[in-house]
């Protein structure tokens, strides 16, 4: 696995020091998770209780994402951070349910490290990824309206591929036709690079094991 660093638009980087994006590409077809991945998900369920979910927001990495959500205008209790969303699902379902690959691999890495991860169809991306604000008249593919100017997005060289911590653009998400997956991490101030590297490595090894 080789992680690549993306870029952050200069004025966004000035506003949010520590914000970063990196990704790794893995040859993998989406589908049912192999037994080792499902077993790891079950082990994770056995180690994760309500108390963890409650105390999670005091831990440095989940706290860093909560703070960043507040700072970019999102409400983390209404739009949970990735790790908190996972914790809520665990409490609601009674376990980390298997949703196949790459979702299970992402769940394992997010729950273990707290780092925000998502996946795109790597063959639908062009050039390096970045975090930037949307330009006037720009829209997210598949959405009927233009994005409000200044919306923070993850973009490739052509167009936005997803909202930062939001919906994917149409055609960019992993689907049955995907043959190569881009695992993308969004790092915010307070999240160590080592945790980001570990998260990407965990997903990549789980996907490569198929």
């Amino acid at each position: 696995m080789r992680a690549q660093g993306g870029w952050v638009a200069p004025r966004i980087a000035t506003e949010f020091p520590g914000l970063g994006i990196s990704w790794a590409e893995v040859d993998c077809r989406p589908g049912k998770s192999p037994e080792p991945v499902r077993r790891r998900l079950r082990d994770l369920s056995d180690r994760f209780y309500g108390g963890h979910a409650i105390h999670m927001r005091e831990r440095p990495i989940p706290w860093a994402y909560r703070v960043f959500f507040r700072q970019i205008g999102l409400e983390p209790d209404g739009t949970p951070t990735p790790v908190e969303r996972l914790a809520l699902e665990r409490l609601h379902d009674g376990a980390f349910k298997s949703h196949g690959l790459p979702a299970d691999a992402l769940s394992i890495a997010i729950a273990e490290t707290g780092v925000a991860l998502r996946a795109f169809d790597a063959d639908q991306l062009q050039g390096p990824l970045c975090i930037r604000d949307s330009a006037p008249g720009e829209s997210l593919a598949g959405q009927p309206h233009d994005l409000p100017q200044g919306t923070l997005v993850i973009a490739d060289e052509r167009s936005p591929v997803g909202l930062l911590f939001g919906a994917d653009a149409e055609g960019k998400a992993v689907d049955r036709e995907t043959r190569r997956i881009a695992i993308v991490s969004v790092q915010v101030n307070g999240v160590p690079q080592m945790s980001v590297d570990e998260a990407l490595w965990m997903v990549a090894t789980a996907l490569e094991s198929t």
Binding site: E15, Q71, G73, E75, P148, T151
Partner: protein, 155 residues
């Protein structure tokens, strides 16, 4: 990318140095308040479920302006004040309940049928202290009152 860099060069956010410093300061305050609120939230668990939500500053992710950041900061400060008040009220109630339990233990007959649960004292578990007569009806007629301690549910 060149277009983006050019757009950035003329951005008002970039030129307004003082305003950017103010936004930085507000973001620092938001981070500090979020930590404080998280501490109160965990301190209250499992006795109380504190509401830590504040209205979203924007419909989507964006660089919040000064006014939006101020609203988030003020809302968080408001939530913290509410949480502290709720926790203080609760602590006072638990303190009163502890005193009532001490009185009940000292003189069960003066507190006939009174019942105080572990939850009333802010303690984990579902046990309770109950002032009731020894030997049922006979004890009630004879005034043989005692405080019976329930260990709570088996699990």
């Amino acid at each position: 990318m060149a277009v983006l860099l050019e757009r950035d060069a003329f951005s008002p956010l970039r030129t307004g140095g003082d305003e950017r410093l103010a936004r930085d300061e507000l973001r620092r305050q938001i981070a500090r308040l979020e930590r404080e609120l998280a501490g109160l939230f965990t301190e209250a668990f499992p006795r109380l479920a504190l509401d830590t939500s504040v209205p979203a500053a924007a419909p989507g992710p964006r660089v919040a302006d000064l006014g939006e950041l101020e609203r988030v900061r003020d809302a968080l400060a408001g939530r913290i004040a509410e949480a502290r008040a709720v926790l203080a009220d609760r602590a006072e109630l638990e303190s009163r309940n502890r005193e009532a339990l001490a009185r009940m233990l000292a003189d069960p007959a003066a507190h006939k049928w009174e019942r105080i649960s572990r939850d009333d004292l802010g303690e984990p578990g579902c046990g309770h202290w109950h002032s009731r007569p020894r030997l049922g009806l006979l004890g009630m007629l004879m005034g043989w009152w005692r405080v019976k301690v329930s260990s709570g549910c088996p699990l």
